[in-house]
Symmetry: C2
Subunit: 160 residues, 2 copies
DNA sequence: ACCAGTGTGTCAGAATATTGACATGAGTCA
DNA sequence: TGACTCATGTCAATATTCTGACACACTGGT
């Protein structure tokens, strides 16, 4: 913004590369998830739920970056297939703790294997340390944007 | 898949971190784009079109990772606002080269500045070399997935 | 005990993107 | 020249997601 920043080709933009990677991963994921009759949001829901049982729909929604309403539809589909339970019907108004059933865990196990295989393939061109660095840097980038309310105190870590 | 791979917390998964970063960027982008009355897809279209004038709708769609149909709607909106032109109406059937108008370029200039500011903020926690590395690695990851038809010959580059 | 404030689940409507399909024009090859 | 294939633009229908809104339950303070 200060000096005359030439825009440069789009493929040097974070947004472009990020979208490219996201699309590629998303596409590969629902290719391997389709045989299991699972969508990506459904898989994400199962995965989070396995690691943090008893989460409510709203909490699940926040954890998977969707709205409560969208998560609700996901949960309905999963519940109808007997993959999870929601403490019966409480009529109206309060948090419904959600948990995986045995069938849900079985399904998740298969899905998790498939997805991890994809992620492994995606990271294959990178060395293990480069993989770890990618995750760390990506998380830092996201934090730099979401925590924009505060001034990020930039400490120059001479990492390379 | 071979050895007993513990699934581990989701936040160590590429997919999770990738989605996190994508959501953060997307959200920040349409926050700064909204005052300009531009959506993210619209901005992407303008940006690509500025760098590669004369592109057809289908080519534009591929460049921005959406379908022809979606791009068509984007183009219609942009055209109605006088931000781009499409060589009149050719009735039916053939590629319509698209170009930015002067107004389009002006609008893009403002949008580009805003978006670049966001991207800069996003990459702020990283050193310049780490930023470059992130882009490169991300592109490599995407390529590893989209070019999955071939066996990727893994050449161990001892980079770190 | 009362009452605002917050969080949650759910319903309804709108917006957006996708899939499927078709007609048209261009290029290729016999 | 004619037939075939391919790519493009567009229409229609479907699907997915989001925004807005409401009722209900728990928590805090008074």
């Amino acid at each position: 913004m200060s000096q005359g920043d030439v825009v440069g080709p789009v493929d040097e933009s974070v947004g472009y590369v990020l979208k490219q990677a996201t699309i590629a991963l998303r596409s590969a994921m629902d290719a391997v998830l389709r045989p299991l009759e699972l969508t990506v949001p459904q898989y994400a829901c199962l995965e989070v739920l396995d690691q943090r049982p008893g989460l409510s729909g709203s909490e699940l929604a926040r954890a998977t970056f969707v709205t409560r309403q969208s998560m609700n539809l996901v949960l309905q589909g999963l519940q109808q297939r007997g993959l999870l339970t929601r403490t019966a019907v409480a009529g109206h108004g309060k948090a419904l703790p959600t948990e995986l059933t045995d069938a849900g865990r079985v399904q998740l196990r298969a899905a998790s294997l498939a997805v991890h295989s994809i992620e492994k393939q995606m990271l294959a061109p990178l060395t293990p340390s480069a993989q770890q660095r990618l995750l760390t840097d990506l998380a830092a980038c996201a934090a730099a944007l979401t925590g924009e309310r505060h001034i990020q105190l930039q400490q120059h870590t001479a990492d390379d």
